[in-house]
């Protein structure tokens, strides 16, 4: 498909610079196979007559040939990320597209533009792009490249291309309709297992997310009480002579415990909580992916059923059916490969997050 970005972008075109040559050298030698580095930072507020929104700076460094330059810097807003996600889902319906942070958070006091909210979102957006970059298929997606490299006006005009909203909606309706019948009964065993797994996994990961948040809250409450505890001992030491030193000693120990608690809490909120949350979103995504696979199969099945009833237009149908069979086969394979990859990643992520929690706790107790 045509894409505007293949024509020179307006960012200063830099021939392969010495630094990127060094990078290239490093990548080929080292165990790192990465050739695409993305960071998301520097949130900035923009106020217009109609709305206020935040943009984030997206910096890309790459050695890939298909990129005109080795370094790009663009500004993107949340809407742009949403666009990218939906394009990826369209292009690869049975691949596992990483989750985006939610539009807004329902519970509690989090204001749309509070610093805490923006920072959490920024980290999640950073994760999102890097997960795509690490994905063997998605990383070469054209829309992804455009997202990383195009200037604002280029991106807008590119977005307007492609099938309109109404036709896309039509597709979805037809797909849903066709999936209702038959897809489940013809589903290969493997995908039924996946479905069952995801149901349980989704339940458990949601529980873990809640538990981790609860622990964070309890630790914070504990910290707040401890802050008051130390100074009382200091106050007491003022009335005493003999035991004043012991009391002051205890007061300073309690204060050190407070600091250690703060560190422990920070560890939780930086590592475990975001990962658990990401996998909560992932579980929703995976259920969606499995449904889409069912839909694709459903299309095939309904056509096969139709063929069984209308033997006359056999030739026409069999070509279509052939195409659909291919489609289903491709979809299934793509999903299977991606599923295995996802599970590996999940395992790795869980292992490292919980090990990190254990290490934080060890450090806390040692201090």
């Amino acid at each position: 498909d045509t894409s505007l970005a293949e024509v020179n972008s307006f960012s200063p075109s830099v021939p392969i610079s010495p630094s990127s040559m060094i990078n290239q050298y490093k990548f080929e030698d080292g165990p790192e196979l990465r050739d695409l580095f993305i960071t998301v930072d520097d949130p900035e507020s923009h106020i217009t007559a109609i709305e206020t929104f935040i943009t984030y700076r997206v910096v890309t460094k790459t050695t890939r040939g298909e990129f005109d330059s080795s370094e790009y810097e663009v500004r993107r807003r949340y809407q742009d990320f949403l666009w990218l996600k939906s394009k990826l889902e369209e292009a690869h319906p049975t691949l596992i597209i990483p989750p985006l942070p939610e539009k807004f958070i329902m519970k509690g006091m989090v204001e749309r533009f509070s610093d805490e909210f923006i920072e959490t979102r920024r980290k999640a957006l950073h994760k999102f792009l890097n997960r795509i970059a690490d994905h063997p298929t998605l990383t070469f997606n054209e829309d992804f490249k455009i997202f990383l490299t195009a200037q604002a006006w280029e991106l807008s005009s590119h977005k307007k291309q492609g099938p309109g909203l109404l036709s896309r909606m039509g597709q979805t309706v037809r797909a849903v309709a066709s999936s209702v019948r038959g897809a489940v009964k013809n589903r290969p065993e493997m995908f039924t297992e996946m479905n069952n797994y995801m149901e349980t996994f989704s339940q458990k990961i949601n529980l873990l997310d809640k538990i981790a948040h609860r622990i964070y809250k309890e630790e914070r409450d504990y910290f707040n009480e401890m802050k008051e505890y130390g100074p009382i001992h200091t106050l007491w030491s003022a009335s005493e002579e003999d035991i004043a030193d012991s009391l002051k000693g205890i007061a300073s120990c309690i204060d050190r415990c407070c600091k250690a608690t703060e560190k422990r809490m920070a560890g939780l909120s930086e590592h475990l909580l975001p990962i658990l949350h990401e996998y909560v979103l992932y579980s929703e995504i995976l259920m969606g992916v499995l449904k889409r696979r069912d839909q694709i199969q459903g299309e095939l099945d309904s056509k096969v059923d139709a063929l069984a009833n209308k033997k006359t237009e056999k030739d026409l149908f069999s070509e279509e059916i052939g195409k659909l069979e291919d489609k289903v086969e491709r979809a299934n394979n793509a999903l299977k490969v991606d599923w295995d990859r996802w599970k590996q990643n999940m395992q790795w992520d869980m292992r490292s997050s919980f090990t990190n929690v254990a290490e934080n706790n060890l450090r806390y107790y040692e201090e």
């Binding site: 309890e218 504990y222 001992h233 009335s239 035991i243 107790y365 040692e366």
Partner: protein
């Protein structure tokens, strides 16, 4: 100290039992009775143990004993009883007096009280105390017969004295301030400690949920399953460990509470001093005014305005005989007054001397006990951290095998 009862006799409060009976108003009630066991300390090298005597007492009898001791020895800082009702509770502990944990802690507190009294050089020699330990029947009557209740100072009298005394011994004033500060700081500390304990309990217990969920999750995982399952087990161990930790901390809290109540005993001694001092000041003032009256009658001059002076002016002077009689009465009173003043002064000085000696003893005891309590608290914290390290080291290993 060698003559202390504590050295001659082993005293324990070994059991607590629920009883029902009729109280003074003939109403059925449930109460707890405590078994006091005593045994004479004989040379144990012979391998023989002296027989154990025992009797049952309830909390109200302990209270009666303590009231008797406070009134009879006002210059002594009398050891306090454990609290009547559970205070400074955090959510896991119940405030119920019948709760077995509370009863157990009270049993220990009562034993501690008896040992404190038995090791006090003065108090241990008291016969009522000895009878409390050894004589089951008729003890109450014995106490009441001493008539100590009559000697007790009314609260109102004491309050009045506190406000109006002019020259109390500075040391007692300082001591009173100290005991106020001590009481305020310890109760604040206990309150915050209870809240901290509550929060800590929450942190540990929520980790227990990990155990359950990990175990359920491990059922659907192949490679991660074992690691998850065993990690979950360690989370359960972690969550359960807080119960013992906090129970130990309750003992620490009880040690602090004892000194919280000791502050009240200190204040009682100060109040007694203020009362005696006020009494003395009133007696001196009374004596001075009587001497003045005498002088006025004798010389016929009225130096100060008085109702008597006015009425005599209005209704005429008294006869010389009347005046003589009055002077005589006054002179008698003055002599009585002077003797009283002398003995009150002596009493006051004796009180200050003996009270201050006991206060010194108390201060040493307090410093020693509190230091030990603080050290044992630190040791408890270290042991809690060691347990934490152990659990999380194990958990880390399990996680890394996932």
């Amino acid at each position: 100290m060698e003559d202390c009862l504590a050295k001659k006799m082993e005293i324990t409060v070994s059991e607590a039992e629920k009883r029902t009976g009729r109280n003074a108003m003939n109403i059925q009630e449930t109460y707890t009775a405590y078994l006091i066991e005593t045994r004479a300390v004989e040379s144990q090298s012979e391998g023989q143990c002296a027989p154990v005597d025992s009797l049952w007492r309830r909390y109200s009898e302990f209270e009666l004993l303590r009231n008797y001791l406070s009134v009879t020895y006002p210059h002594i800082v009398v050891p306090p009883l454990p609290e009547k009702r559970a205070d400074f509770v955090w959510h896991k502990l119940s405030a119920d007096n019948m709760d077995p944990d509370f009863v157990e802690r009270r049993r220990i507190g009562l034993e501690n009280f008896l040992l404190r009294v038995a090791s006090h050089p003065v108090l241990c020699q008291d016969k009522i105390f000895y009878a409390f330990l050894t004589q089951e029947g008729g003890w109450k009557e014995m106490v009441n017969e001493t008539g100590f209740q009559l000697k007790a100072d009314s609260r109102l009298k004491a309050l009045n004295a506190t406000f109006r005394v002019k020259n109390p011994d500075k040391r007692f004033t300082e001591l009173k301030h100290y005991s106020d500060e001590l009481q305020s700081v310890i109760s604040h500390l206990l309150r915050v400690r209870a809240r901290v304990a509550d929060r800590l309990y929450g942190v540990y217990k929520v980790h227990g949920n990990y155990g359950r969920v990990f175990s359920e999750w491990s059922a659907i995982e192949k490679e991660m399953g074992d690691g998850l399952q065993s990690a979950g087990h360690h989370m359960d161990v972690y969550a359960a460990s807080i119960d013992d930790i906090l129970e130990e901390e309750e003992h620490y809290a009880d040690q602090l509470k004892e000194y919280l109540f000791y502050a009240e005993a200190l204040r009682a001694v100060c109040r007694k001093h203020e009362l005696m001092q006020y009494d003395l000041e009133m007696a001196a003032q009374d004596l001075t005014s009587k001497k003045q009256q005498c002088e006025e009658l004798a010389t016929g001059t009225v130096r100060t305005f008085s109702l008597k002076g006015m009425t005599s002016k209005l209704f005429g002077q008294e006869t010389p005989e009347q005046r003589e009689a009055k002077i005589k009465v006054l002179e008698e009173q003055i002599q009585e007054g002077e003797e009283q003043l002398k003995s009150k002064n002596l009493e006051g000085r004796d009180f200050v001397k003996s009270a201050w000696a006991d206060i010194k003893r108390f201060k040493e005891q307090k410093n020693h006990d509190l230091k030990e309590a603080l050290i044992s608290y630190a040791v408890m914290q270290i042991s809690m951290c060691k347990k934490g390290i152990q659990v999380w080291t194990n958990a880390k290993e399990c996680f890394s095998k996932m």
